[in-house]
Symmetry: C2
Subunit: 97 residues, 2 copies
DNA sequence: TTGATAGGCAAGTCATCACTTGCCTATGGT
DNA sequence: ACCATAGGCAAGTGATGACTTGCCTATCAA
């Protein structure tokens, strides 16, 4: 849903998480926590970040793959491309290959 | 602020208002109320819409010009273009003239 | 000048959301 | 088998946000 995408993007911490994943894909929850704390001064609990990741995932902005006891998180920009065309027109989401 | 833009876009009614303005620029508050009601079945009070317009305006997504007792609202897509480049890259907001 | 139209201000309600705390499960190393 | 690591579940709290109601101001037409 586009609804979920907009709600997911409404929170600053979630946008920070997307920033983190754009810079380095496939991070675990603990890695994301560490980097948010170190680079952005975000002092939230592990659960807070976990819940944010859940919101991002159910919006389709993040895809996760489980491997052993680790869960890796990857960014998915497809939903982003779709929502912008709503007011900017179809040219607004093309990426030059 | 990008912060305000994302928060402004988080509400479904506000997105509907943008839809309305993209279709017909320069509407008054009462016009917007009427069209939201007629076309989208939005049954909100005048104040509710007025407050939404205030949010959109302080996010820079809507610009208003007063003329006599009327206040006309125009869409401004510039803030939209800026926020998308954050995760999609600079090509994502170009419009073909 | 009176009345109708277009809009604004302010307080109050109710729901949603972000975040925490405490406990539980599962995988891997030694 | 044990313990540390990686993550999940659920209830509770506090704050933010959407919406309403009531009243007030300003512009225009008769």
């Amino acid at each position: 849903m586009a609804e979920d995408v907009f709600k997911a993007l409404a929170d600053p911490t979630r946008r920070r998480i997307l920033d983190e994943l754009v810079e380095r894909d496939g991070q675990t929850l603990f890695e994301i926590c560490g980097r948010l704390m170190a680079k952005h001064g975000v002092g939230l609990s592990r659960q807070a970040i976990s819940q944010h990741l859940a919101v991002l995932e159910s919006a389709g902005l993040v895809v996760s793959r489980r491997q052993g006891r680790y869960k890796y998180h990857d960014l998915n920009t497809e939903p982003l491309k779709r929502i912008v065309t709503r007011w900017l027109g179809p040219d607004a989401s093309e990426s030059t290959p």
